[in-house]
């Protein structure tokens, strides 16, 4: 009877197949690094997210190979509240939606030159969510116009 039960257990475990495995070292790092993380966006070896520390939320980019946050000079202004972020596959470009001075803006940040470029929406609208393709040269953005959500595509040089 006991042998049969063990055999059944082995059979059941075998039937489950491979399972996704939590990554405890990185998850521990994320837990220690800040009070909260939200809106993840994965590149090839990059994790972009919105991180809250000491009551302030900022865009954070972590290099998953060496498990360290990357400096983003010029991006996280003290008077800005980030709303969403997306990273290109190589981690070089970040599309960010942020609120500042009562306006909600869509930004493109290029790490190689440390510049923030504001992308205008035409017709005007309020951006809410953003996605970059792998190359960082095509962007899809959810925009509120006339009380309706639309998706615009923006090709970037």
């Amino acid at each position: 009877m006991k042998t049969a039960a063990i055999a059944l257990s082995v059979l059941l475990i075998g039937c489950r197949g491979p399972q996704p495995r939590p990554m405890p070292d990185l998850n521990g790092l994320l837990r220690q690094a800040s009070n909260s993380h939200r809106d993840p966006s994965l590149g090839e070896r990059w994790l972009a997210s919105l991180s809250r520390k000491a009551g302030r939320e900022t865009v954070e980019l972590i290099d998953l190979r060496n498990r360290r946050p990357v400096s983003l000079p010029g991006l996280n202004r003290a008077d800005a509240q980030p709303i969403d972020v997306s990273v290109s596959a190589d981690g070089q470009r970040l599309a960010v939606i942020e609120q500042r001075d009562g306006r909600t803006e869509l930004l493109l940040y290029r790490r190689s030159v440390g510049t923030v470029q504001r992308l205008l929406l035409d017709p005007p609208g309020v951006p809410r969510a953003v996605s970059l393709d792998g190359s960082g040269r095509l962007l899809a953005v959810q925009v509120s116009r006339d009380g309706r959500w639309q998706v615009d595509l923006i090709r970037l040089p």
Binding site: P18, P20, P40, S41, L47, L64, L119, G134, R155
Partner: protein, 168 residues
């Protein structure tokens, strides 16, 4: 159908090709190669994922994802073989990954007290980042999918995955 306009600093914008005027579209997600766009739209009043080939404007079928709405937070791998998103059964929310090549639906098991909120699939499909609500906090948890999914890489360094434009 596609409106063009010049935006600041030479960026060029257009409305999502083939989109239905009047129908709400939310939570856009591009495939790594930029060929496919997933959005959440209303289908019979229920938020449902929709996948579109941007070149042709054609909607691609997702037969494994006709149920378990509301759907939210879609995310695509490089060639769009894998579509990850959050679904709901009863009161419980689940993270699932649809393999469009084989038609399989992979479920991501989570301990009982965690509720999935948003997710992001790595371009090659080998990792998943999941935002969960855990005891009043938002956290991101990373999962290794290398034993679950084949890699879905860019054409230049692809080894095992074939294109999935019309699959299945």
């Amino acid at each position: 159908m596609v409106s063009l306009a010049i935006t600041a600093c030479s960026a060029r914008s257009e409305r999502s090709a083939g989109s239905s005027p009047g129908r709400s579209q939310q939570e856009p997600a591009l495939s790594g190669d930029g060929r496919l766009l997933a959005v959440i739209t209303e289908k019979l009043g229920r938020p449902t994922v929709q996948l579109r080939d941007l070149a042709s404007g054609r909607l691609l079928p997702l037969p494994q994802l006709n149920r378990h709405q509301p759907h939210s937070s879609p995310s695509l791998s490089w060639n769009g073989r894998f579509l990850a998103l959050i679904t709901q059964r009863g009161q419980r929310r689940f993270a699932v990954i649809n393999d469009r090549l084989t038609g399989r639906l992979h479920h991501l098991p989570l301990p009982g007290h965690r509720v999935p909120i948003r997710l992001s699939l790595a371009p090659d499909g080998r990792q998943l980042a999941l935002q969960v609500a855990d005891r009043g906090q938002w956290r991101i948890e990373l999962f290794d999918l290398s034993r679950v999914l084949e890699p879905d890489r860019a054409a230049a360094d692809r080894q095992t995955t074939s294109r999935t434009e019309s699959a299945p």
